[in-house]
């Protein structure tokens, strides 16, 4: 190996990082143009970096982003001065992002529609309108800030799909996540036009309600700002139906 090659090889990594002062960079460039061995070495080092990048890939970060946004929202709530505004904004934005809706005619028809929408997504795996993952992550993060149970489910979960399911007279925001061998399903409904004055949303975290049900390998949540009686009726009936259907479904994940 010539002294020129020795010198160039000692500078190659900094050259690749564009960290050499211009005279040194120019001399390395000049050497590489006339030395096949060093030109070949720089290609091998480039490949090593590329392989290392691939090997150290961190995987999907959407669920973690949701957790972080949730944590930030919780931080905000601890500052009482902005508690009411933050909670109201979180609920309103999340619902607006996930669920454009039209008023349902009654609690029972709302239940039928919600159950069918959830079944269509969760059981039949039919996802009509994809939702941009960043919007879903934002929506989930904001919900998770309101509901620790959802935040716990998001821990180490991977987003499988996010979509809007139009069904009947309404649309439903539906997010499916995988957590280990389990699926987590979050269905958001928005009842603002149905019965509640908007002010109710901002009063405290109870402005948004959560119901959860689990079977082996599956957890389903319903989040809504419906009043508690309507919410309970819908959730209990809908979740029971979904879980029964899932239990009977052959080859479920």
């Amino acid at each position: 190996m010539s002294p020129e090659c020795g010198r160039a090889l000692g500078l190659l990594d900094s050259y690749l990082c564009d960290e050499l002062p211009s005279p040194e960079g120019a001399s390395v460039r000049e050497h590489l143009a006339g030395c096949a061995a060093c030109a070949s070495e720089i290609q091998r080092r480039l490949r090593l970096r590329a392989e290392l990048r691939n090997a150290l890939d961190g995987g999907d970060v959407l669920a973690l982003e949701a957790r972080i946004l949730a944590g930030i929202a919780v931080e905000g709530r601890r500052r009482r001065a902005i508690v009411l505004g933050a909670a109201a904004a979180a609920a309103l934005v999340a619902l607006a992002v996930l669920v454009p809706s039209t008023p349902p005619s009654s609690a029972s028809s709302l239940y039928d529609e919600a159950r069918d929408a959830h079944l269509m997504c969760a059981v039949r795996a039919s996802y009509p309108s994809p939702l941009r993952p960043e919007l879903a992550a934002e929506g989930l993060g904001r919900y998770a800030s309101l509901w620790p149970a959802v935040a716990a489910e998001l821990h180490a979960a991977t987003l499988l799909s996010a979509h809007v399911c139009p069904h009947g007279s309404r649309s439903y925001g539906h997010v499916v996540l995988r957590k280990g061998e389990h699926l987590v399903s979050v269905l958001a409904t928005d009842g603002r036009p149905l019965s509640l004055p908007r002010a109710t949303l901002g009063q405290d975290r109870d402005g948004v309600r959560l119901s959860a049900a689990t079977s082996d390998g599956y957890a389903a949540f319903v989040l809504s700002d419906l009043d508690s009686r309507v919410h309970s009726t819908i959730s209990e009936a809908m979740l029971a139906s979904v879980l029964r259907a899932l239990a009977a479904r052959p080859g479920r994940p």
Binding site: G10, C17, L52, N54, V61, L64, I72
Partner: protein
């Protein structure tokens, strides 16, 4: 306004989430602990985001927080030692200038993980995440000269360990042909 602050935080800080996760994985060892580490990092960053000057180097600042959080967690958990943020003593190892022609991802990972943690960290920050040397120095809280000497040794050692790994597995590879 709070929403402006969050919006700025997302565009300046949260965009670096994948890079933070990759480095945290090496520091924490598994995904769950890495996620916790990164979440705590971003929460701390959020708390002091008002003091962060827009247009300055957010990425290096986040890595600095990540490393300090990891360091603090290890000390609290009673690990034998925290991250050594100062320089390592010179290892009596000859410089390896040549990169092997052929290697697999497994060869590379074994070689990479055979390096000391401080060496893996500088290589990952500079060569995988693409931080400038001064950014690495800022993240680790060490002088740029120390970054350069540590990087030089670490890259050289990585090439050497890769070559050794290839030699160690060569008979098996030949037998498989």
């Amino acid at each position: 306004m709070a929403s402006d602050r969050l919006s700025a935080f997302r565009s300046e800080a949260l965009v670096h989430l994948p890079e933070l996760v990759r480095v945290a994985l090496r520091l924490a060892g598994d995904r769950s602990d890495a996620d916790d580490l990164v979440q705590e990092t971003f929460l701390q960053a959020w708390r002091s985001f008002d003091r962060f000057a827009p247009g300055t180097n957010c990425r290096a600042w986040l890595f600095r927080i990540l490393i300090l959080v990891a360091h603090g967690q290890r000390r609290r958990n009673g690990r034998a030692r925290g991250l050594a943020l100062d320089d390592l003593p010179d290892a009596a190892v000859a410089v390896e200038d040549h990169t092997p022609d052929y290697f697999t991802r497994e060869h590379l990972l074994v070689a990479f993980h055979s390096l000391a943690e401080e060496q893996r960290l500088v290589v990952q920050l500079a060569d995988v995440e693409g931080l400038r040397y001064r950014e690495v120095a800022e993240a680790l809280g060490i002088p740029v000269g120390t970054v350069m000497s540590r990087l030089s040794r670490a890259r050289s050692l990585l090439r050497r360990r890769l070559a050794e790994r290839l030699q160690a597995t060569a008979p098996a590879a030949r037998g498989a042909r």
